[in-house]
Amino acid sequence: MDSTTHSPLPPTERSLPVDAVKQRSLVAALRTFLPEDAVLFREEDTRPYECDGLTLYRQLPMVVALPENEDQIRRILQLCHEHKVPVIPRGAGTGLSGSALPHPGGLLLSLAKLNRIVSIDARARTATVQPGVRNLAISEAAAPHRLYYAPDPSSQIACTIGGNVAENSGGVHCLKYGLTVHNILRVRGLTIEGEVVEFGGLAPDAPGLDLLALVIGSEGMLAVVTEVTVRLVPVAQTARCIMASFADIGEAGDAVAALIADGIIPAGLEMLDQAASRLVEPFANAGYDLDAAAVLLCESDGTPEEVAEEIERMSAVLLAARATRIQVSNSEAERLRFWAGRKNAFPAAGRASPAYYCMDGTIPRRRLGEVLKAIQALEPKYGLRCPNVFHAGDGNLHPLILFDDADPDSVARAEAFGAEILELCVQMGGTVTGEHGVGVEKLDQMCSQFDRSTLDAFLGVKRAFDPAGLLNPGKVVPTLHRCAEYGRMRVHAGNVRFPELPRF
């Protein structure tokens, strides 16, 4: 059963029934080697797993397994492979694209119990951890050594490293310190057949093709991650942030280009448009200039001397780029206050509107002003507001379409608005997803971004790792049929769970 061929419908209509006979036999087989409480199948127990952070897609899994170690995972995979049962790996379930959406005839493999930090080697600057370890927990454990794990998706207090590997997660600091793919040395995993595979290693490279690069960001479709070794980097001695106001959104976009052109790679470079500033200010009291068309946050980190030098250069560039106001943080508390608004944009959107739909397109930086103005121009067309927060440094937009999920017409307009934004990103030479993943959410837009030959090559990669097509089937790569349907089908809207978590 291919869940992706179904058009998005309200949850009650979408969720497909579970085959009770198959379920009983799978549960019995799992319980021969798993403790009773590690195998869930009753609806009240599997319900919490019916969706990830994208809640409009819901599906009860046939069975949920909660293994505690690699050997149990191996046996689960062997069993599922033998009986042709799809396996859907899941970390903390904070993903925003439905990558961990269950399969009605499948086993949901929760890696949450594998949450041990195996070792920290301060001299080698590495940490080896199990997949269920939270992103922030790694940095906390490394802190006594003045080291940390750089990628910082804003769900970092909850999201797990296994999920980060699956999604190639970003964060605010990836302009300078890279994405997940740049900070992982080694992934140990299991193939769908239950064989142990090591991708990468503790040396700077591994023999053969760079399968590690391929596995990172593969959304759980190529292998099940059982252990990860991450690279740790030294904590900067100090950081300061500039908050700059602009009278025009295009000028703010040009200021971003001017900083890069001057040879500066800020530690963080984020932007909020006026609608976003006004949305978050009452919530966060960050001190944003509410009269500005755009607020730019530009951070420098390093030694105190280095930061002083860089802040001076950045300020000069921003003023030359027609910033109307510039404020430099003078204390750590002030720096964190500048960031508080940006980091709370999603919860603020959740408070200001019954629901919101977060887009994740990335565009070339030089198109920032143009795209933002185009999005603003679309607001009256759809009768919906769309504040924008984004990673300006790498052109990754997060337009937040505010809508009412109780009103089907509002949902439909939000869907259409979102689809138009993503199509715009593709037209501008960008991508439909910068860091949230394709999952089930952006399958249709994959049809616009890639030609059929390339999509078929992706399916070929999938077959090379998982010939039986059992690992997280139907995600990321749309079928030929799906792309043919696209255009007639409406793009759905989504809700975000865990609204209290800051998101980027």
Binding site: P204, G302, G434
Partner: protein, 358 residues
């Protein structure tokens, strides 16, 4: 699709129909690297030229046959660089060959945004597969998680998956300031110190230990370089001499690389102790890359690398009957074979260049 590109696709299609192997080769500067392969030479230099370069986007897109020197000159004129500092190994190196070989230079292990190997800076690629189809992976933006990251997989793929037609590479600003320091130090002390320094926020951009001397390159904001010089001590080397020295490491023209003795590239965790084979060595990348001149049998060198937690490649010279690269574990070998079969079903590209059965 322009004429040069469609012609190349046509050549591949014809070779595929005839089951006739192709040897992808442009300037031939890396002929020595990898295992021997055979076939009709396919020269991608018919595909040449910069497709797009907008310095403020930090990305350059070039056709595979573009000269690596041309790309480096252009980005240098704009105050930028290829951060992975790729070796050319000759005047005719091309961008495609640079990506396919996947070799990075001294800056591979540095602090901050310049850290990383070739694949870390690949953002997108166009590839002609074994059916003669033009595929397009990734893109030109920094953050892109749409689809599997096949463009990064091409770095170091030795041409076995297809003909790289075009690549988009992330570029970075050149450092404001740089300075090289020299220390007298034993191998053990150097590896110890390098790892200690790498754990501190110092602007390290390259390191080499050889024959009792450790060279350290600092690069970054002037204030950071100044402070690090002050903190680390050592003897300063004037910039012209230092630049020539680092070029001799990158291009392997340093006297260590002269002569006929087989050159092994031993890649290990940076904290690995001295290798169990006592032969002349040059150590880069804070201890993680150990070049060794040794005529020992491949099994012995590979065992020594394995004990140190890494792997060994017979880089230049020597007897390659045991393969240039460390053999893969059976599950990884199976994935390699199936990937090769997906991209190149009739096995026409660079047969045996990476492994005998690929």
């Amino acid at each position: 699709m322009d004429q040069a590109l469609s012609q190349l696709c046509e050549t591949v299609r014809a070779a595929s129909e005839a089951r006739s192997p192709l040897l992808i080769r442009a300037g031939g500067t890396k002929d020595f690297y990898g295992n021997e392969s055979s076939g009709t030479v396919l020269d991608p230099r018919t595909l040449a030229g910069i497709v797009d370069y907008e310095p403020t986007e930090l990305v350059i897109t070039a056709r595979a046959g573009t000269s690596l020197t041309e790309v480096e000159q252009l980005v240098t004129e704009n105050g930028q660089m290829l951060a992975f500092e790729p070796p050319h190994f000759g005047a005719h190196a091309t961008v495609g060959g640079c990506i396919a070989a996947g070799l990075a230079g001294p800056r591979r292990v540095s602090f901050g945004p310049t850290h990383g190997g070739v694949r870390d800076f690949v953002l997108g690629a166009k590839l002609i597969d074994g059916r003669g189809e033009l595929l397009s992976f990734g893109g030109t933006v920094m953050k892109n998680v749409a689809g599997y990251d096949v463009s990064r997989l091409l770095a170091g793929s030795m041409g076995i998956l297809g003909v790289i037609a075009e690549v988009s590479i992330k570029v970075l600003p050149r450092a404001m300031s740089h300075h090289t320091l020299c220390f007298e130090m034993t191998e053990t002390a150097a590896v110890y110190k390098l790892n200690e320094w790498a754990g501190r926020p110092l602007p390290l951009s390259a390191s080499v230990w050889h024959d009792g001397a450790l060279f350290l390159r600092l690069a970054g904001a002037s204030a950071a370089v100044r402070a690090a010089r002050h903190q680390l001590g050592g003897e300063g080397i004037d910039n012209d001499r230092a630049d020539a020295f680092w070029a001799s490491i990158r291009e392997q023209t340093h006297p260590f690389f002269e002569g006929e003795a087989p050159l092994w590239r031993v890649s290990v965790p940076s904290t690995a102790p001295a290798l169990s084979i006592n032969e002349p060595q040059m150590i880069e990348w804070n201890g993680a890359l150990r070049w060794m001149r040794s005529a020992q049998p491949a099994e012995r060198v590979r065992e020594c690398a394995r004990q140190a937690g890494g792997h060994a490649t017979l880089f230049r010279g020597g007897d390659r009957s045991a393969g240039a690269f460390t053999p893969l574990t059976p599950p990884l070998a199976a994935i390699h074979r199936r990937l090769k079969a997906q991209f190149d079903p009739l096995n026409i590209f660079n047969r045996g260049r990476l492994y005998p059965d690929l």
